[in-house]
């Protein structure tokens, strides 16, 4: 039962992907680090404003998507282009101990910061060693 549901989800996802792949997506550069309280993801997405950013979670997959908008005068010819796409996309699979309901996201100067806290019961506890 759950299996069939998963498959249909995947199909829907790939159809969407096809539409977006008309323009090849840029894989944003990321830093990922973990401390006691959770995991932090930082992604460079220059040109993406808050309203063109989409962070979503589908079961255990975290997806980051964004569209860069750059002010361009009309009739501009490209002389040089390192960046050929305005679409950023990257996904990560999460593990169970992360609390996806309490993710915090911030965007500043094209840098996306995601704080994914660990569930309370998964935070490391120091175990006292009894002596005596």
């Amino acid at each position: 039962m759950t299996e069939t549901r998963d498959v249909s989800k995947q199909e829907a996802g790939s159809a969407q992907d096809l539409k977006q792949q008309e323009q090849q997506a840029i894989l944003p550069a990321v830093d990922i680090f973990e401390n006691e309280s959770g995991i932090t993801v930082q992604a460079d997405m220059p040109g993406v404003s808050k309203d063109r950013l989409d962070v979503h979670i589908d079961s255990d997959t975290l997806s980051i998507e964004g569209r860069a908008v750059i002010p361009m005068p009309e009739g501009m010819d490209a002389l040089h282009a390192d960046i050929r796409s305005t679409h950023y996309q990257r996904s990560f699979s999460l593990s169970r101990e992360l609390d996806t309901d309490r993710i915090e996201a911030g965007l500043k100067d094209g840098v996306l910061t995601l704080r994914i806290p660990k569930r309370e019961e998964h935070r490391p506890r120091r175990i006292e060693v009894q002596t005596g």
């Binding site: 990321v30 830093d31 220059p46 361009m72 005068p73 501009m76 002389l79 040089h80 094209g110």
Partner: protein, 147 residues
Amino acid sequence: MFETLNTSGPGLLDEIRRMEREMNQLFGGSPWPNSIRAVARGSYPPINIGSTPEQVDVYLFAAGLNPETLDISIQQNLLTVAGERKLQVEAGADYYRKERYEGGFRRVVTLPEDVDPEQVEAAYRDGVLHVTIKRRESTRPRQIEIK
């Protein structure tokens, strides 16, 4: 022993070079000729340059910079942008990935000959530095009326 090395060696190398050329044609080649000051693909920050009859627009995709630390200068038609990107490093954290660029950078862009170094504007928004350089009035195409 040496004979086999000599005969098979260059043949194999030729094959590799041919494959390299084909790969370059497929994926590498940019449709524009490379500038002598061009840097390797993937250098930070990536740059796009666009042109219209009125102006030249340079875009630097440099997220997370303090615009006050940027040094932008223009000499004739050479635009130089230098700066340093400092990342906040969390002490005591375990890093799984560190892909984001950190450190100093300097990029020099050769602009078309007719730009006016007196008319340059720069803006930093959402991590993109946008430099606009107007072209000289006299070199812009003009419509000539027939009397």
